[in-house]
Symmetry: C2
Subunit: 363 residues, 2 copies
């Protein structure tokens, strides 16, 4: 993996990653001239026992691009700079200009309120998956996806080394149905000052399971899915993609290395290559299902970066498409949102059969 | 409160409630002739440590009403029966024909899988708020809303008395944006065989707070909101409506009795009457904000029905509209869904000011 570290005129960081060496004379553009002035703050939610972040300056975005302007495309006209330069690179990572977490130097202190507040330590990054605005993550060559897995590993390590960062979550929101208006293939990385509620509970649950059984719950589940085969979409020497038996979304798919690995940075090259195949298979099956790009939320869960060992952790992606049939969305409503109790009217076995029937070409 | 208990031709229960006595000769109609054949099952989610319910028969609904057919309107033509009879009543409650929870007698056993499974004990009810399909909950007279609060209390008690029911959640999904296609004012009641994840964590958090401080967290928060006044929308002698300082949705509002009460059934008449005023104020402000019906999810949290005392519990509603501005939805995406960590770009104080400025007429 090759990389080039750059700083934008507004002070934000940009790193370019490539399968091939990157021209060291490339410069980092920015659509913004003024330095970033982020000052998010946290408020404690006393009923749920969790933090919420407030970044009011995000409302006041001075930057409202016209629909034809793509800030994630390479800069062609220096008088109209985007977020990334032209030149040979495959993946770009830069600091989010409107972060939900993070504090600029000299930022305003958090307000005093009837609930505890705190500065919103943390960091938000944008990951551009490819220079091609018409492509998609699943359509990229395997070695390009492999590079992205390495990038996620490097970013997790760098962010996780910071004292204040306790959890790093790479994710992709794809499609207008999940709120994305920018269709250039990209994802985000959130680096949190706490282990957030969902990975926190997963980690607690896994730790209890590991203590009593000597294995994490995902390791056991993968063994079960492999034995059954009924919901498996891809099984290689080191990685697997499947509709989990306990899916909460009709077309939910998990992608994971078969052997437990704490995070991207701990993957061996052969594991990572097979994980790229598993991920590409899942994504191509999604887009092949109805012959159109399927929207989804994809999150990659890793071990917390809290400096503790996490033998219970098992790197994996969970993908949630918002559709329950070709033309019907699954809305999260009363029972899901208010109770956290998911109700499904599709069986994972049926949905797995639909996805199994989609042929994909990995070459 | 007057009531009439009826049984539908397909065996489902219907209860009519009224401010005035109800004609005892009314009969319960049903659009269905065959008995209910529900057989939902639960599957254990080993990573999240929670149950998910599967009701595959809901897909196979034989009943697809034409858009002009409203099953919640009163039956006018006996050859085309709806769910409720004509006659003088105010609120109707009946068993959901396509429940996500519940088992008919002789229902199929749960499948054997690689994760634990169980029959989906529990119960799902539909609550028709009014006979008028054009009305809305907030538009109902105060004594009609008061009646509904009594109905929720009676249903909670009846369902909670069942050995297998551990939690009762009344909620309303309102508007196409939250997935509702039937616009007749109505809500639902889910009676769960476990305390679901969200109220479970709220109850645990509150219990810890109560042990250390002798008060529940909502009681303390309400005291703070009353002192500050900055986010209060309604404050009466016994009830309050406010945008919480820790709102996770831009126009989130909580409605609660000021003194902690475990559930609807424990409300004194004066508390209930004021709670009706607080709720009506919040709902009218919602619809007045942009002069159109504002969609929302409203959930009422009460104490678990597990037979234990719950001095830490404090009945309240949380209302989540899905809009962040007049024409922009707030999507729950990466950080909210995958991490459970909410990011807001609006301050609760600003949104409270917008709602405070909406004048409402309670009479």
């Amino acid at each position: 993996m090759h990389r080039l570290l750059l700083t934008k005129p507004d002070g934000r960081h940009l790193t370019l990653y490539g399968r091939e060496p990157i021209d060291a004379t490339l410069q980092a553009p920015s659509p913004f001239a003024e330095p970033l002035n982020a000052s998010a703050h946290l408020r404690w939610h006393p009923l749920r026992g969790e933090w919420v972040t407030y970044a009011a300056y995000r409302q006041g975005r001075t930057f409202l691009p016209p629909p034809e302007y793509n800030p994630l495309a390479v800069t062609r006209d220096p008088s109209n700079p985007t977020e990334v330069p032209a030149g040979r690179w495959d993946v770009a990572v830069f600091d989010n200009r409107f972060p939900s977490l993070g504090q600029a130097e000299g930022a305003a202190p958090p307000p005093e309120l009837i609930v505890p507040t705190a500065p919103a330590a943390g960091h938000c990054e944008v990951v551009v998956f490819t220079q091609d605005p018409q492509s998609s993550l699943g359509a990229l060559p395997l070695d390009h996806i492999d590079l992205l897995l390495q990038v996620w590993g490097e970013r997790t390590q760098k962010l996780g080394e910071r004292e204040e960062i306790k959890y790093v979550l790479p994710f992709e929101n794809r499609g207008a149905e999940v709120g994305v208006t920018l269709h250039h293939p990209h994802g985000q990385i959130y680096a949190y000052p706490v282990v957030p509620p969902v990975p926190g509970r997963m980690q607690q649950t896994a730790a209890g399971h590991y203590r009593s059984r000597g294995k994490g719950p995902l390791e056991e589940m993968i063994a079960g899915e492999r034995r059954s085969g009924e919901r498996v979409l891809y099984e290689g020497p080191h990685a697997i993609a499947f509709v989990p038996a306990c899916a909460r979304y009709p077309y939910e798919v998990w992608v994971a290395p078969i052997e437990p690995v704490e995070g991207f940075a701990q993957l061996q090259p052969a594991q990572r290559a097979d994980l790229a195949r598993a991920l590409k298979t899942a994504l191509l099956k999604y887009d092949g299902l109805w012959q159109r790009p399927l929207p989804y939320l994809m999150a990659w869960y890793q071990a917390p970066t809290d400096g503790q060992p996490h033998p219970e952790s098992h790197l994996h992606a969970e993908l949630y498409p918002p559709y329950r049939t070709r033309d019907r969305l699954k809305y999260l409503a009363g029972t899901e949102i208010a109770a956290g109790f998911f109700a499904m009217d599709a069986l994972p076995e049926e949905k797995a059969r639909e996805l199994q029937a989609v042929e994909v070409n990995l070459t």
